[in-house]
């Protein structure tokens, strides 16, 4: 169709002024959606009429508005900018809330980081302490088992020397060796001999103390004192009238060196 001719036919003016009949209006409303130039022509005339009305505006008495709003029971605020001022306000509230949230998050992060550092250092300290404690514990266990062993040994020996068949023979220091002392425990039943060298000078290098049993003036070798800590078990002696300890060359001698006699005791 020739839209130009249609536009210039006067139908646009007729429609906009509300004078077109139903059929004409329906046709135009259909065509305006199909042809942008028709739509544009309609709007152009609408704007012309609007501009003319504003150009020829006739002031209205103020009571009309008052009556109108009274009739409609409307009460507009004189400051219609209230909603627009509300909007940015609520916006700032929102942003400030977000700011607080962000600040709180940062603060929380910093605190958390500091806590991490502190807890990590504490952990390291505790770990070191734990290692030390474990070492100490191992040491104590070792000491304990050593003590236990010694205790068991002592207990055993004590049982032996406290037995009913045991004869206790104190050996006193001979003149010149008064500080030296030893005790022999002799089991008359099984002839076991034990020695508690409670006070003998430390044997010089290459020398060892040797115990002798004396029977009818004859010395009998009862063995050399090994490096035993408590009560030493020596050789069995069948019969004895006295015991004595001499310092001999390492490994012991067949006969005692009487010049090196330290202690002696009779049964």
């Amino acid at each position: 169709m020739d839209t130009r001719e249609y536009i210039q036919s006067g139908i646009i003016e007729s429609y906009v002024l509300g004078l077109a009949d139903a059929q004409e209006a329906a046709e135009l409303e259909r065509l305006r959606t199909l042809h942008p130039e028709i739509e544009a022509a309609i709007q152009t005339f609408e704007k012309e009429l609007e501009a003319a009305a504003f150009a020829n505006a006739v002031p209205v008495d103020s009571h009309v508005k008052a009556d109108l709003f009274k009739e409609l029971e409307l009460a507009p605020q004189e400051q219609p900018s209230i909603p627009t001022t509300l909007r940015p306000e609520s916006k700032t509230n929102k942003t400030s809330f977000l700011k607080y949230l962000a600040a709180a998050a940062v603060l929380l992060f910093v605190v958390s980081a500091a806590m991490n550092v502190y807890i990590y250092s504490r952990y390291k300290t505790v770990q070191r302490e734990n290692v030390q404690l474990a070492l100490q514990r191992d040491q104590l266990f070792a000491d304990n088992s050593k003590t236990q062993t010694k205790f068991n040994e002592l207990d055993e020996r004590l049982r032996l020397i406290a037995g009913p068949d045991i004869i206790k023979i104190p050996l006193a220091g001979v003149p010149g060796k008064e500080n030296s002392q030893a005790i022999v425990f002799w089991n008359k039943s099984n002839k076991d001999v034990y020695l508690l060298a409670s006070s003998l000078p430390k044997a010089p290098k290459g020398k060892q103390y040797q115990l002798w049993a004396l029977m009818d003036g004859q010395p009998i070798d009862a063995g050399v004192l090994q490096d035993c800590t408590t009560v030493c078990k020596l050789k069995n002696i069948a019969n004895a009238q006295a015991f004595a300890i001499t310092l001999e060359n390492e490994g012991g001698s067949p006969t005692p060196n009487l010049e090196q006699l330290f202690v002696m005791g009779k049964i």
């Binding site: 004078l19 504003f54 006739v58």
Partner: protein, 180 residues
């Protein structure tokens, strides 16, 4: 006369549909005088004109939800309400009676009284006055009296096609006068 623009037409329409009293107040402040020019091109009497304008705004408020921007601008829609209200008012029995009395009383006197505007100088009426008689008649009957083209054909005895053509030519002529 247009106040500082606070709303676009779309915003204004949206707010009116939401029955926003502030938007309606803004609408009144911005459009009342322009719409009053249409009222005044129909109605001479001050009091009646104010009533018509007020009635028109009541309809605008109550019918805002029916406004369809696809069918035209807000002002065009409001103009249509004003025109229909004015025509309906002029047709109403009360007004016709009082007008007849006025016409009888003042038949030969000057129509322009102190408290009335000369409607011939207002709105479209101002431009209609300059048209040639055959155009003037059809525009008067159609636009101002609110008669349908069919009514005019029947009233005048003219064929409907002639009425249609004459009206369209008259409106084109009118438009060129408005733009001038």
């Amino acid at each position: 006369m247009k106040a500082i623009q606070k709303y676009t037409e779309q915003e204004l329409v949206a707010l009116l549909k939401e029955r926003d009293a502030n938007a309606f107040s803004y609408l009144y402040d911005n459009y009342a005088a322009a719409l009053n020019s249409i009222v005044r091109s129909f109605i001479q009497d001050d009091q009646l004109a104010d009533c018509v304008l007020q009635d028109s705004f009541v309809k605008i408020w109550k019918q805002a939800s029916t406004f369809d921007s696809v069918k035209g601008r807000l002002f065009t829609w409001m103009s249509s309400i004003v025109r229909n209200t004015a025509i309906d008012t002029l047709r109403s029995k009360d007004w016709k009676n009082s007008r007849q009395n006025v016409e009888l009383d003042d038949r030969n006197s000057d129509m322009v009284a102190d408290n009335t505007l000369n409607i011939d100088a207002i709105g479209l009426r101002k431009f209609v006055g300059g048209l040639k008689e055959e155009y003037k008649t059809v525009v008067e009957m159609c636009y101002f009296d609110g008669l349908s083209q069919n009514d005019i054909a029947q009233t005048t005895g003219m064929p409907l096609g002639t009425v249609k053509t004459r009206l369209r030519k008259a409106l084109i002529e009118l438009r060129s006068r408005i733009k001038r």
